[in-house]
Amino acid sequence: MSRFAHSLAAPYALDALEGAERVRFERHLEGCARCAAEVRALSEDTVRLARSTATPAPPALRERVLSAVRTTAQEPAPARGPVPRRSAGHVRPRLLLVPFATVTAAAALVVAALFAVRAHQTQDELDTARDRAREIAHVLAAADARATRAADARGRGVAVVASVSRGRAVVTLSGYGEPPGDRVRQLWLMRPGAEPRSLGLFDGDTPLIASGLSRFATSLAVTVEPGGGSDRPTTEPVVQLALESVGFGE
């Protein structure tokens, strides 16, 4: 079987297998490193055949595609091991989005983090905490409040409860511990066609309340920045979360 399957590498690279045969060969590829390498090499050849046919696309096609993109939702990234990056030595975890069935679970997380009482809190700190609790309660109470979270394989992640009508989101990090040195974790709003906008700095695991979110907000990102935060992200996000499942981006 292996030898027979191996001889299908060229027809496969040319897309010259029938549906069922293609599926069988793809299954074979998963366990045959040599075949996978050969297919990769042959595919670079077929790409040359492809590129040589380049023709300007009709202008009307551009309009149709770009306007469709504005109203088309994207699929979340598939679960997959870390992707090696050519430019940098570190890896960015690909996250699996796990929409919560209800707001309650995320709300519990937010509240637990909020009421993690620290010793020697001053009156000011307590006041701040109370104000924050009130703001959070308002987001949770919104009729359109929805929750989502993303977690990586090590259980580190971010939970969000958001309300489009109030333009607010409560964002909680968990499992990351303190950032190294005097560095801070900064929350960013990512919007199509615009620079990331800072939504504030995280203070440990205390929830951060992001306000002024337009309904076009597409995703949130968290980066590690020098103390005091940055005007724009200077590192790769440690975590990113699409806001589509909580009603934004449309």
Partner: protein, 180 residues
């Protein structure tokens, strides 16, 4: 920016990056789809599906498996081939081909406009293959025939066609060599 970087931004929902990516890949995608599908209206339809799929499934791109352009053109080719095969199964293609016999062939027109270096180089290299190697490769890749259909059309045993395909692509690679 290159397609690889843009695709990563697109996966994060960046529409500006998508516009830039469109500028880079729409020509190769449309040209390839049109070469395989041939019918202008259907080619536009398939190219639109492919380009929109890029937006939707950008997160599926795995840089460990090759370059972004290679992935994009692989997706485009597969969609084009699927369309041609289902049209062929429905007998539409034969009827369209009969109609087109009375129109100027698309390939002649486009080749006058697009005498790109890459096109010229690939054509020369294809000319260096043996006739059976060239036909095996182009009937499959540009006309969307399965290797079984290629074997029938060329009246060759299946094993021979597979070998011609592999040798044809190998010789093509040697000829194209460092010409980027």
């Amino acid at each position: 920016m290159e397609a690889d970087e843009l695709l990563e931004l697109v996966a994060g929902g960046d529409q500006k990056a998508f516009e830039e990516l469109y500028g880079l890949v729409s020509g190769p995608v449309f040209g390839l789809v049109r070469r395989v599908v041939r019918d202008p209206a259907q080619s536009e339809e398939v190219a639109q599906e492919v380009l929109l799929e890029l937006w939707r499934s950008a997160a599926r791109f795995d840089p460990r498996r090759g370059s972004a352009l290679s992935w994009i053109l692989t997706v485009a080719h597969r969609r084009a081939v699927d369309r041609v095969r289902s049209a062929r199964a429905a007998g539409e293609r034969e009827r369209r081909e009969a109609r087109r016999a009375h129109q100027p062939a698309f390939d002649q027109v486009s080749e006058e406009v697009e005498a790109g270096l890459e096109r010229e180089w690939v054509r020369r290299c294809l000319d260096r293959l043996t006739a059976l190697q060239r036909q095996s490769v182009t009937l499959a890749y540009y006309d969307g025939y399965t290797y079984r259909e290629v074997a029938e059309r060329l009246r060759l045993p299946l094993g021979t066609v597979k070998t011609r395909m592999r040798d044809g692509l190998g010789r093509l690679r040697d000829c194209l060599g460092g010409a980027a």
